[in-house]
Amino acid sequence: MPNDLNAKIEKHTIAVVVDNEPGVLARVIGLFSGRGYNIESLTVSEVDPVQRLSRITIVTSGTRMVIEQIKAQLDRLVPIHKVRDLSDDEKPCIERELALVKVVGTGEKRIEALRLADIFKARVVDATLTSFVFEITGTGDELNEFAGLMSQLGMIETSRTGIVAIGRGPGGF
C-alpha cells in the first residue's frame, strides 16, 4: 500500500457468514489471490443447515489499511451476509485449532512422547507397538509448540484443521 510503506503488519482473525452455495469459497479465495492478500489459515463449514449458512474463519496479515480493504472487499461479495473482525474486539477472541500428530518410535522416545502428550492434554486416538496418533486442541501457538517437541521424538506426519474463532462475552455475531 503506497501510503503506508512503513506501517506495522498486523495479524487479524476475520469471521465471515456466507450462503452455503457452490462457488462461495472460490470467490473468497479468488479475492485473496487476485488482490495479493495473505491467507495464513482458512476454515469453512456449514453452521446453519436450515438457512444454509456457512462460517468462514480467515487468519490474515497486513497493514491496517490492507486489513480494512480485505474486510470491505469481502463485504462486497454478493453471497456474503456478514463480515466481522474478531481481532478488533476489546478482549482477544477465542481461537482453537485441532491437530492430529503421528509419532513413530520405540523405547525412551516413545515414553517421552506419551509424557509430553499428557502435559499438553493431547489424547491418544490410535496406537500400535511402534506408533501413536495424538489429537490435540489449542491455540495455534500451542500446537506449534507441541509439534516442535514431537518432531524430535519421531513425528512423521501431522494434519491441522486451521483456526476457528469466536468472540468473548454475551454479544453475538
Binding site: 501510503n3 503506508d4 450462503d19 489499511m65 454478493v78 453471497p79
Partner: protein, 594 residues
C-alpha cells in the same frame, strides 16, 4: 446445489427458454445483443416466436458486451447479452471485465452444456462461472429450472443496484428445455445483498463544515455521479454553484458537470489540464464524489495533494482508503449525498470564505493562462487536435453521443470535446479496451436512433472490432467512425519516444487497409481527408449521410498528447509540450508503471 425451489406462484409451467424471455420482458429489456450457438438454441427458438424483444446480431461476442455497455451507459438501463457456451462465453470475457472496471450494469446470459455433461470436457464446454468469477460483480450457474426466474430477477437487481456491474447467468441446455414455474420480479428479495445508498447524516454534516471552511477547495468527481442518474449531475452542478468552488472531472465523469461552466477546470489526471492537476496539488480541501483515486488520476501517491483534507463520497466501501487515505468517508449514492449536502448547506446558511476563494481563483486563472491544450497550428498537415476541434464545432447544436477507442485519440477527444450532460461520453476508462468504441456506438445508436453517434477512433484500435461494421449496416445504425489515422499506435509510440529512447518497437501500423474501400466493402460510406482544406467538407459529409460512415482522417503521425504526467510523477511534475523533456528524471519506480 440449489435446493430452494420456491413454492409455485402460478400453476402455469413454462420451458426454461420461455422463462428467460418472460423474465427479460418483465425486467423491461427491449434489446438483446447476442450471437447464437448450440447451447442457446432453445432460447433462440423462443426468440424467433415472439416480437417484443429485439435481438441484435453482433459479429463477435466481445462486441455484444460492448454494445450492451453503450446501450446501458447512454440510457442508464441494464444492458443485456446472450451468448453460447464455450467460445461464446470466453469471447465475452473482455467485455465483462470492461464493464466491471467501469461499473456498467450488464446481464449476460450464457448457454452451458447440459447438466449431466458438466465436468466431462463436453463439446464447447468451458467453466464459465469459474472463468468469469473475477470479472463479474456476481455470477450464477442455474442447474434447476425452478430457480431460473428468481436467479434472472436477482441478477438484474445485483447488476443495477449499489455500484453497478456485470452479472453472468450460465444456463445449461437441459434447463432451457425443462419446464418450471415462473415468478415475477416483485416476488424476489435478495438474501444478503443490500447496498447502502443513504449516507450517515452526521458524516455529511461534518463534510459541510469542512467544505464551508475551505480556503483552496476543489470538487473532484467521477463516474459515480453519472451512474447515480441525471439528477445527481444536476445536484452536483447546483451544489458547485452554491459554493463557487472549482470542479474537475475524471475521464469517467465527463459530462456530470457542464464543460462550458466557468467553474469547470477540465479533466484531471495523466492527460488532464494543467489547471485541474495543479489545483488538485494545491488544494486544502478535496471533495471527491464518485471517483476512486485511480493511479491515472493520482500520479505519485506520496506527493498527491499533500496537506489537503480529503472527503470521499462513494457507494462502494471498498473504494475508501484503497489507494489514498482520506479524512472523511461518506458511504452512499452520489445523488443522495449531494441532496443532503445541499439541504444542510442551506439550512446552516453556509457562506464560503470569499477572500480566500478570490485568491484561489486568481491562482487558478494564472494556471489557466498557460493554455495547456494549445498545439502547433499549421496548414501543411492535419493536426489530430485540429480535426477534433473541427468535429467539435460541426456537431455543436446537434444532439450527439461520443464513444472512443483507446489511445491518443481518446485523450484528445476527452480534452477537446465539451460535454454538457452526463451519459453522452462513452469511453473505456478502467480497462482501456481497444475495440470498445464501434460496438459501443452501435449499442448507443440503437437506443438513440435520431442522434448523431460518433466513435472517435485510432487506426489500430478500430481494427480490433472492425467486423461490427457489418452489424451497423445490417441494423442501419448510422454510426460515424472518425479515425484519427496517425499510422501508429500513437500512445505506445509516445511512451516509446519519451521513455524508451525513441525505439519504436512494433508500434507502426504496417499494412493498413484502405479505410474508404473497407467501408464500401461493408456497404457503408468511406470518406478521407488528407489535407487541412478537406477536413470541414469531410466532417460535413459524414454528418449529412444517413448511413454508417468511416472517416479516414490522415493526421500528423508524430503528434504527442500533452499535458502529460509521466508515470510515477506528482501532479506538479506535468509536461506541457514537446519542449519539456523527461529523460533526466523519470524515476525507476515510474518506469515500471503502466
Amino acid at each position: 446445489m440449489e435446493t430452494e425451489g420456491r413454492v409455485v406462484m402460478s400453476d402455469q409451467k413454462l420451458t426454461g427458454a420461455d422463462i428467460v424471455l418472460k423474465a427479460l420482458r418483465d425486467q423491461g429489456v427491449e434489446l438483446i445483443f447476442g450471437y447464437p450457438g448450440g447451447a442457446v438454441l432453445p432460447i433462440y427458438d423462443a426468440l424467433f416466436k415472439q416480437n417484443d424483444l429485439r435481438h441484435i446480431l453482433v459479429r463477435h461476442e466481445q462486441a455484444a458486451v460492448h454494445a450492451a455497455e453503450g446501450y446501458a451507459r447512454s440510457t442508464g438501463k441494464v444492458g443485456c447479452v446472450l451468448v453460447t457456451s464455450g467460445p461464446g462465453a470466453t469471447n465475452a470475457v473482455t467485455g465483462l471485465t470492461d464493464a466491471l472496471m467501469d461499473s456498467i450494469p450488464i446481464v449476460c446470459l450464457t448457454g452451458q452444456v447440459p447438466t449431466h455433461l458438466i465436468g466431462n470436457d463436453a463439446f464447447q464446454e468451458a467453466d464459465t462461472t469459474g472463468i468469469t468469477r473475477p470479472c463479474t460483480k456476481h455470477n450464477y450457474l442455474v442447474k434447476d429450472v425452478r430457480n431460473l426466474a428468481r436467479v434472472i430477477h436477482e441478477g438484474f437487481y445485483v447488476a443495477r443496484s449499489g455500484r453497478p456491474g456485470p452479472v453472468v447467468i450460465d444456463i445449461p441446455k437441459d434447463v432451457q428445455f425443462a419446464e418450471g414455474p415462473y415468478v415475477g420480479p416483485h416476488e424476489i428479495r435478495h438474501k444478503s445483498y443490500r447496498p447502502q445508498v443513504k449516507p450517515e447524516l452526521a458524516k455529511v454534516e461534518e463534510a459541510i463544515e469542512l467544505i464551508a471552511n475551505a480556503k483552496r477547495p476543489i470538487f473532484y468527481t467521477g463516474g459515480g455521479v453519472v451512474n447515480s442518474g441525471p439528477l445527481a449531475s444536476k445536484l452536483l452542478t447546483q451544489f458547485v454553484h452554491m459554493t463557487g468552488y472549482p470542479c474537475t472531472n475524471t475521464l469517467m465523469g465527463l459530462g456530470a458537470f457542464p464543460a462550458s461552466d466557468p467553474l469547470f477546470l477540465g479533466m484531471l489526471g495523466m492527460h488532464g489540464t494543467y489547471e485541474a492537476n495543479l489545483a488538485m496539488h494545491g488544494c486544502d480541501v478535496m471533495i471527491c464524489i464518485g471517483a476512486r483515486f485511480d493511479d491515472r488520476v493520482t500520479g505519485k501517491i506520496s506527493e498527491f495533494a499533500p496537506g489537503s483534507k480529503k472527503i470521499h463520497v462513494d457507494i462502494d466501501p471498498s473504494s475508501i482508503n484503497k489507494n489514498v487515505a482520506v479524512d472523511l468517508a461518506i458511504i452512499g449514492d452520489a445523488g443522495h449525498v449531494l441532496e443532503d449536502m445541499i439541504r444542510i448547506w442551506k439550512a446552516r446558511q453556509k457562506r464560503p470564505d470569499q477572500a480566500a476563494l478570490k485568491a484561489w481563483w486568481a491562482q487558478i486563472e494564472l494556471w489557466r493562462k498557460r493554455d495547456c491544450l494549445r498545439y502547433q497550428k499549421t496548414d501543411r498537415i492535419i493536426k489530430p487536435q485540429y480535426a477534433i476541434e473541427r468535429l467539435r464545432d460541426a456537431i455543436r447544436g446537434i444532439d450527439h453521443y461520443i464513444t472512443t477507442e483507446v489511445g491518443q485519440h481518446q485523450m484528445w477527444a476527452a480534452q477537446f470535446l465539451p460535454f454538457e450532460q452526463p451519459n453522452r461520453w462513452l469511453t473505456s476508462g478502467g480497462l482501456g479496451t481497444m475495440g470498445y468504441g464501434l460496438p459501443a456506438a452501435i449499442g448507443c445508436q440503437l437506443a438513440h436512433p435520431e442522434s448523431l453517434v460518433v466513435d472517435v477512433a485510432g487506426e489500430a484500435s478500430i481494427m480490433m472490432n472492425i467486423q461490427e461494421m457489418s452489424t451497423a449496416v445490417q441494423y442501419r445504425t448510422p454510426v460515424k467512425v472518425f479515425i484519427l489515422n496517425n499510422q501508429y499506435m500513437g500512445m505506445v509510440r509516445q511512451w516509446q519516444e519519451l521513455l524508451h529512447g525513441s525505439r519504436y518497437s512494433e508500434s507502426y501500423s504496417e499494412a493498413l487497409p484502405d479505410f474508404v474501400k473497407l467501408a464500401e466493402a461493408f456497404g457503408a460510406v468511406g470518406l478521407r481527408a488528407s489535407k487541412v482544406s478537406e477536413v470541414d467538407d469531410v466532417i460535413a459529409e459524414m454528418i449529412r449521410v444517413k448511413q454508417p460512415v468511416i472517416v479516414d482522417m490522415c493526421v500528423d503521425p508524430k503528434e504527442n498528447c500533452f499535458p502529460m504526467i509521466p508515470g510515477g510523477r506528482a501532479h506538479n511534475d506535468i509536461l506541457l509540450g514537446p519542449s519539456d523533456t523527461t529523460e533526466d528524471a523519470t524515476p525507476e519506480e515510474g518506469m515500471v508503471l503502466v
